[in-house]
Symmetry: C2
Subunit: 1012 residues, 2 copies
């Protein structure tokens, strides 16, 4: 039988009132202002800035091993803005208060113990023994438990193994105990007559360090492989295992793994899975699983929670311009919770239900529904978090009996992360606990049907703040403000499936000929060059016609002719061509990506990022050119009207690299074109098939003939000729320092007939460093360094090639880095399970191997991970993933750009020395810092002098606009692609000043400086 | 006896009412809507845009000699925005309506005759004979006259002579007539028994083409020389001569001339002068003259007018940032008129009064005051303009009898200019005539005491529109928005007097030694070079120490060291040093100017412009650096905070020219410094004393040691070394193309130890053209071309060296240009009467003379004006003012930069050809167009491709910000000094992106893209 929630409302509210009455006067200890924790919580709820600082401080605390370090962080976190921190919490965190004195030491000790005490509030124990002891006590109080091992961030298989071992260890510890326990409220072996006494929760991603949405199958297998031993152990103890749900990106493999495990042991029913009510897809997902259960005829168990990663999911979605996957109004989650609970309860015959909530309205609603539906007691239970909402658990114990506490245990380092989540939960404005126990909201409000709460929330919603971003007027009306093209969301099946299809389509065209494209015509040449798949050089992508000197002359000639009209085309009309080309790329994104995977060996998401960046460049420059295309009035003198505007410099030669074969090509080409400069485009030889994509896109955009010309060619044959050509006005180059400097030098010489001083826009190499401060969040730092160094085989100008680690954290970091690196898979980019593939071609392979030798000679190998023989045997251009330590700044390998998967580890005594080392090369392109010291981050912002510096982020993955990209020193001429100054380089400013006074009379305009 | 105007008010108003009654129902013909003119006037009053177009069209009409030209202009002026022009006036001015057909021709004829008819309304005749006839008729109607010859714009002595001849001619014509006339209202020879029948008005500036405020004595003498013959002739006829008052700039010489003429013929009393009540100084000036009259015991005569150049005076003042010299509320002028009239009437014993106004309130007040003061009739009279306000003149005739009409006569070309002034007067919102006869305002309002009108005007004044300009926050608070430093106002005696004093002070220091300045220390070297006065090379300005290679190394070394700290100094703090240096320049402006006059031969106003520009650069860049110094957030993703900001590139070498020895030096140096780049400054050898001014100003500003270093030196010794130096990051150069290209080429080579790609900011030569369209206002064009070509001897990169004249106006323009050029004076710049002086040194002299020879060989000399022997004999570096015609674009002299006073005249068949010729050189710096064709101006704005294009203005005199300066092609690298993009060149952009999410939690800021 089913029920309608709304019709139950009176009863639900009545139940709620009774519940409240039963716990009246009690409050969770965390809100007790008599305690230090309560004071902190109180202040955090009142002061957002303090809350941020406080929670961040809690997060970093376990890393602060010395008194000095602790003092320094306290000062940095809390001394800055005195006015916002109450005296009781300031701990005298002022510059004078500390200095290594005795008082300071005592204070430090107090602080540390206060915060650790706070953590212990939520964590049942740091060791297995402690945990068992805690559990014993809980059971004595009548509560069941579910045990969760902290430490979910695993960056390597070693850590995953340790996590698995941790579970086995605690299960061992329980094994000797649990049989001694009396069952709760029942005789026999089962609590309440139905539930296993042993109950553990596992977080799947922690069991497999290489989990990633794009590799569903690999992830599921990796997870199962590690979790299965735990499950077997649990089954051996006749226990219950619940698979927790983490961030959305792991949802699909988690469900899939659940199904496989469930199916593998069909008779064993004590396997549960968690669903999160805050996900918009929750109804669909739960229904799906129940349908599956019925189909398979396998009873299941679901724990329903509200969800603990709301901020994270929302931030990530916003950052990626994905639809926000979670409800954005709290009552929507509450509604979903009741709705999905109802669905589960309706299916109680096949689905056991664990209702995990502290919300008394939710609890009451579930109780009422269960009662109305006559759900047997053994088919549902309640769960709350250890250390939270004590009155609620007590009330539940009274009214529902079957209450299980979710008990995390484990080390303080992961514990602090857990603590922060709990603190956030307790202090969020929409937290039921905060509203109930801190804000003391009216009970009728707290118990209101969330549907009604939502209604009034929406009715009282403040008017959305006006979007202050400027909208430019395009040919077809106003353009939306620029936003980055969203990266593929590989949690979506169709996005995962599209790649193999596209690659197979591309393969069908392998071997075709790519002609030049000059003045709107294909031009076939006698000289050709094959482009091959670096993972398997026998696979020929295509045969590329090669331009010689004659073709260069022809292309420059037609471009020069096209310039005469093109420079006069209105900026917004020129912009429109870019928008059309961008639309073409969006429509053909999978094919464009697939070509990169095969021609240059980009991993899927790297290829997608490249094409996305190409789209971004065009969308951004289209808007920029409209912005800059609007003549600016200069001054406001009456009687004169001065206008400042720009004109394209002339024909641009674009000389592109192979590593971002579409993005950087399109960036330079589209910038030139949109500024009024027709382009002669020379793609990199080994990425000419990708480069030919520009022909297709500009054809599709209907660009006038001659404005874009495609002339792949051998640098040795036609490179200098192109650079020297007197009719070239702009040279946009991205590539190595050697070539860049050669171009600059040659371009500076004026040749007969030349009308312009040539403008060279050169983006060159890097020797980028990441600094690991002694308080860095290593969970993030290790993965960040790995990704920055070995993503696309380190073949990015932004790639990290030096990691500079502070002495006091050196061993911890390096150990984790080594293990993490050794956990990754090497192999062809087209298989998304591979972390790293071959370098781009045989020449690159030779060069990288050579640098590898130098690195090994100069330092000590930490990691040297080779690709499996099955790949290398085909002649794929593989080089090892190489990490070398013992490198100092005078080593060659610390100074020269390798452009491949070679990372050196350097040691620094302190942060300032780390920055000095980071700055010690001729390059200044990118850099990154992992640190949780506000002062060091600020210092780095100033003194770590590179074009793009990332704080607590990897040094790669620059997005157009947000991370306008480019460096200085020998890394470039100090220009930033995808930034607000970039287009200026392709244009000359002009000024027209009209004297508007005639016969002593001047029309006066609105913005003239006129008499009042 | 005296009176109080306010106490007379009731009687004044009563008189006014009677006056109004006497003319009730009548209206000036110009407002008669039954006529074509009336319709135009009506529409012009209702529609500001149409008014502007209409009056401009009237202005250009006399130049439209062909039907085609007339058609084209009608279309351009009136077809653009149909909606704003009533059908009756559109004349079918649409593209289809014209085409050379018969209808078009007829229409054209009608339009021309309508407008000429309009002009004839205000002009008594085009020829002397007509004028005499008209006068005869006026006298018959009972009106006296004062005759004024149109044609005041004289650009040459030939034209001044023609003007004088015109007066003599009309006086001749009257001579035979006037004795036949009966006196008005009297017997005897005098009208009204007291006034000579013959009465002429003269505009002094028209009698002397070289009038200029800075040269008071020369101007007075020049004027007197030409006017005296007219006066003698008038005296011979026992007539009256009135000296009209024109623009403010001629006021002082006009008064001075009056005094001298009056004193020279003390017995002859019939000499009058005009004062303008709209000038704030009118009370003072009139009192001064009356005092003088009493002192000298010379009876005088004053005509008081409201003033006809209000727009002009206000625009000019605003453009120059001078105090507006005229009242900005119309009632203030009316009050002044009554106040000054009273003063004159009070002095009627020594001062005869002509009250010139159409304002019935003013007239009534004067009548009442005169009556109360018992001023005898013969001591005052009334004047009104011919063709205006017929009812007023009729009313005056009735009540006051003594009415004189101001009667312009002469050609239609100057007549149209006069017509426009009259049309403006009639259609101005505050015009008494418009209010009375078009708006039909209430009589009580019209007759109200202007003091009361002012009061209510001020009370009802709309709130001043908010100043939308951004004010940047400097070290000492908010900075005023940038405005250009006002040029010297040489109408002010103290400004005129300051120059000679300063020059004499500078002379006292001649011959002193100028040491280098490195790291805050003077450095004396063995090698020295003398700098001399180009007008008299025997005069040694100073002995300048010369840097060698060692000094360059030292200077670059200290600058590199200074960079480490300087780049970190906050932008607003760096800006503050510039503001202090600017303040120093303002305080020492006369000395700084005087040094330029003597060291490089700048005329006074040129020197002042140079120093003013130096100040502007510092004031502008100070603000710009604060603007750019504010880091910009990029994107608005939650969980990350990206900031885009700049850092100075490194040590800058500034290599400066001698032609704007302070301005360009300071521009480049201050830009570098304020961006964080310490400077090694090499001034031009021949302007090193001026260049040393930078040492003084930065010392005064307290700039840290090493940030500015002064190292004059021989280019051949240390130029390349400086450019090649590996520690130079930026080279800012202004000078010749040859040197600029050499620097670019050398700087592109990377030397060992070099950390940066060098940035070269090169501003190079020009071969600038001015186009004279066939409808150009030649009064302005001739003077503009002359100034642009020969100001500072043509030694500006912006100087005009080619004037391209349309065939159909060629003869008229070239004739006037030739005559104008031959009218100027050559000689040392320190004498402000000289238009042109010596070129800068002997080398320049040799070069210019050589190009002169080429020009003479390639073309036909039009003007070759040599400096007087008294100057050349001293060895001064003079070259002739040379104008050559018959030049085509293939001549060397049409292609190569001369950098001296050599102008070529080129002929073009049509406007498009003219633009082609203008664009036909390697340079693209400045250009100008004189045209009154909206379409051609628009065409030029697009197709005349130079950095700075000026429409109806000379090609020189660029002001910071308003005319951000710089060109492209071989004129420069496409940068604009004093413009919004300039500073970017000295800096590298940096981006710091912080991941602000920790543990899934990110603080959300105001401008994040967050969920609603």
């Amino acid at each position: 039988m089913s029920v309608e929630i709304s019709t139950l409302d009176p009863q639900v509210i009545e139940r709620g009132k009774v519940f409240f009455k039963s716990i009246s006067g009690e409050a969770p200890s965390v809100f007790n202002k008599g305690w230090w924790t309560g004071k902190v919580m109180d202040w955090a709820m009142k002061n957002e800035d303090f809350k941020v600082q406080m929670f961040r401080f809690v997060d970093v605390l376990p890393y602060l091993n010395t008194s000095e370090s602790l003092s320094r962080h306290i000062e940095e976190y809390f001394a800055a803005d005195d006015s916002n921190i109450p005296d009781v919490l300031k701990w005298g965190a002022t510059k004078t208060g500390f200095g290594g004195g005795l008082v300071a030491k005592v204070l430090n000790k107090t602080i540390r113990s206060n915060i650790e005490g706070m953590a212990r509030q939520f964590i049942i124990g740091q060791k297995a023994k402690e945990a068992v002891k805690g559990i014993r006590k809980l059971r004595k109080d009548g509560f069941a438990f579910v045990l969760d091992l902290l430490g979910e961030a695993t960056v390597s298989q070693e850590e995953a193994q340790a996590y698995l071992d941790g579970y086995l260890e605690v299960l061992d510890a329980l094994e000797g105990e649990y049989k001694k326990w009396d069952a709760l409220d029942a005789s026999g072996d089962l609590d309440w007559g139905s539930a296993p006494k042993i109950n553990v929760a596992v977080k799947p991603s922690a069991f497999y360090s290489q989990s990633k949405p794009v590799d569903l199958e690999g992830t599921v297998q990796g997870m199962i492989k590690s979790i299965e031993p735990v499950y077997q152990k649990v089954m051996g103890m006749n226990g219950f295992m619940c698979i927790d749900m983490e961030a959305l990106k792991y949802k699909e493999p988690t469900i899939e793994m659940y199904k496989r495990l469930r199916k593998k042991y069909p008779e064993y029913q004590h396997l549960g899975i968690v669903f999160q009510a805050y996900l918009k897809c929750v109804d669909h997902d739960v229904k799906d699983l129940i349908d599956w259960a019925r189909e398979e005829n396998l009873p299941i168990s679901i724990r329903l929670v509200k969800g603990a990663y709301w901020d994270y999911e929302t931030v990530i979605a916003k950052q990626n311009d994905w639809e926000v996957p979670v409800w954005t109004h709290k009552p929507e989650s509450d509604m979903a919770f009741e709705r999905v609970s109802k669905m589960i309860l309706e299916n109680h015959d096949i689905c056991h239900f664990a209702c995990a909530s502290h919300n008394i309205r939710s609890i009451s609603a579930i109780m009422e529904m269960a009662s109305k539906m006559n759900v047997p007691d053994e088919r549902y239970e309640f769960q709350v978090l250890y250390g939270m909402a004590e009155p609620v658990r007590k009330g539940l114990r009274n009214v529902a009996k079957r209450v299980r506490l979710y008990c995390p245990y484990g080390d303080l380092i992961p514990g602090m992360a857990y603590l922060v989540r709990r603190l956030l939960e307790n202090t969020a404005n929409e937290s039921f606990l905060k509203q109930t126990f801190a804000d003391e909201a009216d009970i009728s409000v707290l118990l209101k049907n969330p549907e009604l709460t939502l209604e009034s929330e929406l009715a009282n919603k403040p008017v959305a703040k006006p979007d202050k971003r400027i909208r430019y007027k395009g040919v077809d009306g106003e353009l939306e403000p620029f936003s980055n093209f969203p990266p593929s969301d590989f949690t979506e099946k169709e996005q995962r499936d599209a790649f193999p299809v596209a690659m197979s389509n591309i393969r069908k065209e392998f071997g075709k000929q790519y002609p030049l494209y000059i003045n709107g015509q294909d031009v076939v040449t006698g000289d050709t060059l094959d482009s091959y798949n670096p993972a398997d050089p026998s696979e020929i992508i295509g045969t590329v016609c090669q331009a010689g000197v004659a073709e260069v002359d022809k292309a420059v000639g037609v471009a020069k002719e096209a310039y005469i009209d093109w420079r006069n085309v209105e900026p917004r009309v020129r912009a429109q061509y870019l928008l059309k080309a961008a639309a073409y790329c969006k429509e053909n994104i999978n094919d464009l990506c697939a070509m990169q995977v095969l021609e240059v060996g980009k991993q899927w998401e790297q290829a997608q990022a490249d094409v996305g960046e190409a789209i971004d460049f065009m969308e951004y420059y289209a808007r920029e050119t409209i912005r800059l295309g609007e003549p600016r009035r200069m001054g406001n003198s009456p009687g004169e009207y001065s206008q400042y505007f720009y004109q394209g410099k002339g024909v641009a030669a674009v000389i592109a690299p192979w590593n971002f074969p579409l993005a950087i090509s399109v960036g330079m080409v589209s910038a030139a074109i949109v500024c009024g400069c027709p382009v002669v485009y020379k793609p990199a030889g080994i990425a000419s098939a990708v480069g030919h994509g520009l022909v297709d896109m500009f054809k599709a955009a209907g660009l006038p003939d001659g404005v874009f010309n495609y002339i792949p060619g051998r640098g040795s044959v036609m490179g200098d000729h192109l650079v020297d050509h007197p009719d070239i006005a702009v040279i946009a180059f991205t590539g190595s320092m050697e070539v860049g400097l050669r171009i600059q030098e040659r371009a500076a010489k004026v040749h007969p007939g030349q009308e312009h001083c040539k403008k060279v826009i050169a983006e060159m190499g890097g020797k980028n460093a990441i600094i690991i401060d002694d308080d860095a969040d290593l969970d993030e730092a290790v993965l960040g360094v790995l990704y920055a160094s070995f993503g696309f085989q380190g073949q990015k100008c932004s790639a990290c090639s030096r990691v500079i680690v502070l002495d006091s954290i050196y061993d911890r970091f390096v150990h984790r880095l080594k293990e993490a690196a050794e956990s990754v898979k090497l192999g062809p980019a087209e298989d998304p399970s591979n972390y790293m593939g071959p370098v781009v071609d045989k020449a690159a392979q030779k060069n990288v191997l050579n640098y590898g030798k130098i690195a090994e000679e100069e330092g000590k190998v930490l990691v040297k991970l080779e690709a499996p023989a099955e790949y290398t045997s085909k002649g794929g251009c593989y080089t090892p993933l190489l990490i070398v330590e013992g490198i100092t700044k005078n080593h060659r390998i610390a100074q020269e750009e390798v452009f491949g998967p070679v990372l050196v580890v350097m040691r620094a005594a302190d942060f300032s020395e780390a920055v000095d080392i980071a700055n010690s090369t001729r390059f200044a392109l990118t850099g990154a810092v992992y640190s949780r010291s506000p002062k060091n981050l600020e210092y780095a912002s100033k003194e770590f002098r590179v074009g793009n510096l990332y704080l607590n982020k990897p040094s790669v993955g620059a997005l157009v606009e947000r991370h306008a990209f480019g460096g200085f020193k020998m890394s470039g001429v100090g220009s930033k692609s995808g930034g607000p100054d970039y287009l200026l380089q392709f244009m000359d400013p002009r000024l027209v000043c009209e004297n508007t006074m005639r016969r002593g009379f001047a029309p006066i305009s609105e913005d003239d400086d006129w008499v009042a």
